[in-house]
Amino acid sequence: MMGVLEIIIEFVLMFAIIAGSIMALVQKDLMKMVVIIGFQGLGLALLYQRLLAADVAITQAILGSALIPGLIAITVFKTRRSEE
């Protein structure tokens, strides 16, 4: 039986994921968008861990918080940083 506090953690993570994806899409500076996308991927990995999928959480933590923001950051460096 899960306590109330453990369920509050999952609701906070779900709110953080939705708020992170909306906040990332309204940024004008694209490097801020890259940082927020990294934290959103990390929150998604923590939610996978809370939903009893430990192996998927490890893969998502590596890819979603390090590799994908790195790829987007390389793209931003090779194009322009501010949105026209």
Partner: protein, 130 residues
């Protein structure tokens, strides 16, 4: 509040992520933000599959120490408590495929910027017609 509420609201979270990603693909002006919309839709599908395998009050599908010491009821206890682990294996493949698709999309974005010197879809369409 109990564990079944977590499952329902996790489905709702996946639906909201799908809506946000679809809005980004259709209405955003910048090409990188459209690519991020594709990534959000892929994450939403992964979250739906993970949530369908979730069991409220269950354990991670790994045989731990106290379950192993209870050797007489080992299989019975594992089948009763563990989460359903087939969607986890599928999602593990889908995350890696999604990352490589994202890399290809970002490479195409760089090539479009080198050709049209802009990331805005309106400018790219206008220069393509002229």
């Amino acid at each position: 509040m109990n564990g079944a509420d977590v499952q329902v609201w996790s489905f709702v979270t996946a639906g909201l992520m799908f809506i946000v990603g679809l809005y980004a693909i259709v209405f955003m002006e910048n090409l990188i933000k459209k690519v991020i919309g594709v990534m959000l839709i892929g994450d939403a599908v992964n979250l739906v599959l993970i949530t369908s395998g979730f069991k409220p009050g269950g354990i991670v599908p790994i045989i731990g120490e106290e379950l192993y010491n209870n050797a007489s009821g080992l299989f019975q206890g594992f089948a009763d408590q563990a989460a359903y682990s087939l969607p986890f294996a599928l999602v593990l493949t889908n995350i890696v495929i999604g990352a490589s698709t994202l890399a290809v999309l970002l490479g195409l974005t760089i090539k479009l910027y080198q050709r049209y010197n802009s990331l805005s879809v309106t400018t790219i369409f206008k220069e393509d017609e002229s």
